[in-house]
């Protein structure tokens, strides 16, 4: 009889860490000045979600380039997993941003450069999945979607970092502002760093799960074919 592997302990550390981050976000960090009520507390969720989306799109690029070099379908599965999570976290960042916009500016959507650029980015990566779904052959799908992912990534820094800085925006200063400094109260900064670490951990977990699941599927298909 084979011994079953024990579940890892680290998800429980992540569970406790994120619970602590949530507590700290609402009850440890002070209310930010210059914002309506407690609305600025959304920064502890919105910024990490946006960070994870950028991280995921970077992982998508690396995995796509690896696929184009090695032609290993596991790399394609890695690229797809990263893009999927990037899309999910982009949607979450858009939703939390809209909630903030409603409180601060009275409307969920203001056609602000930040809002428009994230909407375009969502469409760019939604097209990646439309492309994947339209090609039944594994190798061809992987090849075309990896090439598309490289092109899609070129738009990402432009849409996330350049466009919102060129045009006047309602969006509050980014963490590292235009003057190159961080103007954030120290407790808020601590909580934000904790949230960034927690969300990065959650991304790593979800990404690993997605890739493991895809790897099992690939092995099954390969054994069925042979």
């Amino acid at each position: 009889m084979t011994e079953r592997k024990r579940s890892p302990w680290w998800p429980w550390v992540l569970f406790a860490w994120m619970a602590l981050v949530i507590w700290a976000a609402f009850f440890y960090a002070p209310a930010a000045k210059g914002f309506k009520g407690e609305s600025a507390r959304i920064v502890f969720f919105h910024v990490p979600q946006a960070w994870v989306a950028v991280l995921a799109f970077c992982v998508n690029l690396i995995a796509s380039l690896r696929y184009l070099r090695r032609r290993d379908l596991v790399d394609d599965a890695r690229a797809a997993a990263a893009a999927r999570l990037g899309l999910v976290f982009s949607v979450l960042a858009t939703v939390t941003g809209s909630l903030f916009a409603k409180v601060m500016w009275g409307s969920f959507w203001n056609w602000d450069p930040r809002e428009v650029s994230i909407a375009i980015l969502l469409l760019v990566y939604a097209a990646y999945f439309a492309l994947r779904e339209s090609i039944p052959d594994d190798e061809r799908r992987a090849s075309l979607s990896s090439s598309y992912a490289v092109l899609a990534f070129v738009t990402m820094p432009f849409l996330v970092f350049v466009v919102p800085r060129i045009y006047w925006s309602l969006h509050p200063d980014t963490l590292i502002n235009a003057r190159g400094s961080i103007d954030m109260e120290s407790r808020m900064f601590q909580v934000l760093m904790g949230a960034l670490a927690g969300f990065t951990g959650l991304f790593s977990w979800l990404y690993t799960l997605d890739v493991r699941l895809a790897r099992v599927g690939l092995k099954r298909r390969q054994s069925e074919e042979s």
Binding site: P11, F15, M18, A19, I22, F26, F27, E38, L213, V216
Partner: protein
């Protein structure tokens, strides 16, 4: 402007969402482990 009471509510909803996400991931982790063991 939300008062301290509504802040507790928002925190509680966030915790509930986190618990849901966490246990979903944990269940998925176990399922993937079972599939890997069945290979």
């Amino acid at each position: 402007m939300p008062g301290p009471e509504s802040l507790v509510w928002v925190a509680a909803v966030t915790v509930v969402i986190w618990i849901g996400v966490f246990f979903y991931c944990l269940a998925l982790d176990r399922r993937v482990r079972r599939l890997e063991e069945g290979e």
